[in-house]
Amino acid sequence: MKIVIINYGAGNIQSIKFALKRLGVEAILTDNETEIRNADKVIFPGVGEASSAMQKLKASGLDKVIPTLKQPVLGICLGMQLLCNYSEEGNTEGLSVFDVDVIRFSNEVKVPQIGWNQIQNLKSELFQNVAEKEFMYLVHSYYAPLCKETISTSDYGIHYTSALQKDNFYGVQFHPEKSSTAGEQILKNFLEL
């Protein structure tokens, strides 16, 4: 099985690579279109600021590649947010896979949200053998509101989307690679899709 992690200079790629290695999978880091298209599974990571990450995607032409991929794609954290229509962060047009706009948490809660929160209302094969209200590690200031593509929700002042799915595209706001054994189960489920 060929697993590719899209390497576009945004984020904690090493941690994802190591998490997959703990599952016995050697992932390839690449920004090469052919390699990405030929992969069995694609992971689209992202940490940092939305508009600069989007600029990097555009500079490498990956903004055109990612939305047309046919194999299972998993966007993590900012990767998930960039798969949405739009992000308030840096007034950024997204890749429009998920039909939702990403907005900032209100100042009634501490921003960023940092730490372990529960995921619930799970509805996807991505969450096989993952318990309702399982804890996941999250670090983010912006979020996707609930929408028809929501497959998991969390609470932080409001009830929001912690995971999305549309066709072969999956997006998780949390970091499965940093979420202990439950996070590993989600990565394992993705690899087995």
Binding site: N12, Q14, S15, F18, A19, K21, R22, V47, G48, E49, N107, K110, V111, P112, Q113, I114, G115, W116, N117, Q118, F135, Y137, V139, H140, S141, D155, Y156, H175, E177, K178, S179, S180, T181, G183, E184
Partner: protein
């Protein structure tokens, strides 16, 4: 609901853990990777590695350590100690650290906070502040409390938030090492005045102290070293107690 975090802190010198760590069931308790693995498997929510070495090779030693830790554990971790440039941070994050903590370098060059936040995002920038009370005023200190600065804790904390810090690690030098509890009054004032998470540090001695830091101190996370290293408190017992006290925590089995 977002959980309150429990964070063991490991002091590192020349790639080894220091401060007598006497877990009998570890093959090599001086190996930070082994210790990190132990904590990650026993309910820690996050780890902090604080490098206190002063050798010329320290940067490389620390970068190598980060890589090994990232390879081994499946929870987030922060690295601090002697970090003073964008280049330092880039290496540590690329090697798999989730966050970096800066302290003296931020006081000497506050612009560093802005530079790091805009380059890597606020979420991975922790500013550590050591302070103690002098004539009823909380004053920021450097070099583990040895050097007094003119900065007021609350003003400095507000400034680091505005400059883009994602979190503050506040250590009360008056409480650190006393095992008499955290600086709850100052913590509460910080937590109320700021809109970023506050990590409480210094003074943990009993499980009640953690409860107090979260309820009275309104802390988002609590950090401790010796009570965990010497097994005076186990993280699973602590979390069960916190849950009984009505504090949201991540319970692992």
């Amino acid at each position: 609901m977002l959980c309150k975090r429990i964070i063991p802190c490991l002091d590192i010198k020349n790639g080894r853990t220091v401060k007598g760590i006497n877990f009998l069931d570890l093959r090599d308790a001086g190996d930070p990777v082994e210790l990190a693995k132990f904590y990650s498997e026993n309910g820690a929510d996050e780890l902090v590695f604080l490098d206190i070495s002063a050798t010329e090779e320290r940067r490389k030693t620390l970068a190598d350590l980060v890589l090994k830790v990232a390879e081994t554990i499946n929870i987030p971790f922060t690295v601090g100690g002697g970090i003073s440039s964008v280049e330092d941070v880039e290496i540590l994050l690329n090697n798999g650290a989730d966050k970096v903590s800066i302290n003296s370098s931020a006081v000497k060059n506050p612009q560093l906070i802005n530079d790091l936040a805009s380059r890597f995002g606020s979420q991975c920038i922790v500013v550590a502040i050591d302070a103690k009370q002098i004539d009823a005023n909380w004053k920021v200190h450097l070099v583990g409390g040895k050097v007094l600065t003119e900065l007021d804790l609350f003003e400095w904390a507000k400034e680091v938030e505005q400059r883009g810090a994602g979190e503050i690690l506040f250590t009360s030098m008056d409480h650190d090492g006393t095992k008499n509890g955290f600086a709850n009054e100052a913590l509460s004032k910080l937590s109320t005045a700021l809109n970023i998470p506050i990590i409480a540090s210094g003074g943990a001695g009993t499980m009640q102290h953690f409860t107090d830091a979260f309820i009275e101190g309104k802390a988002d996370a609590a950090l401790a070293a010796s009570v965990f290293h010497f097994k005076e408190i186990t993280i699973s017992d602590l979390k069960n107690e916190l849950q009984i006290q009505g504090i949201p925590v991540r319970i692992t089995n």
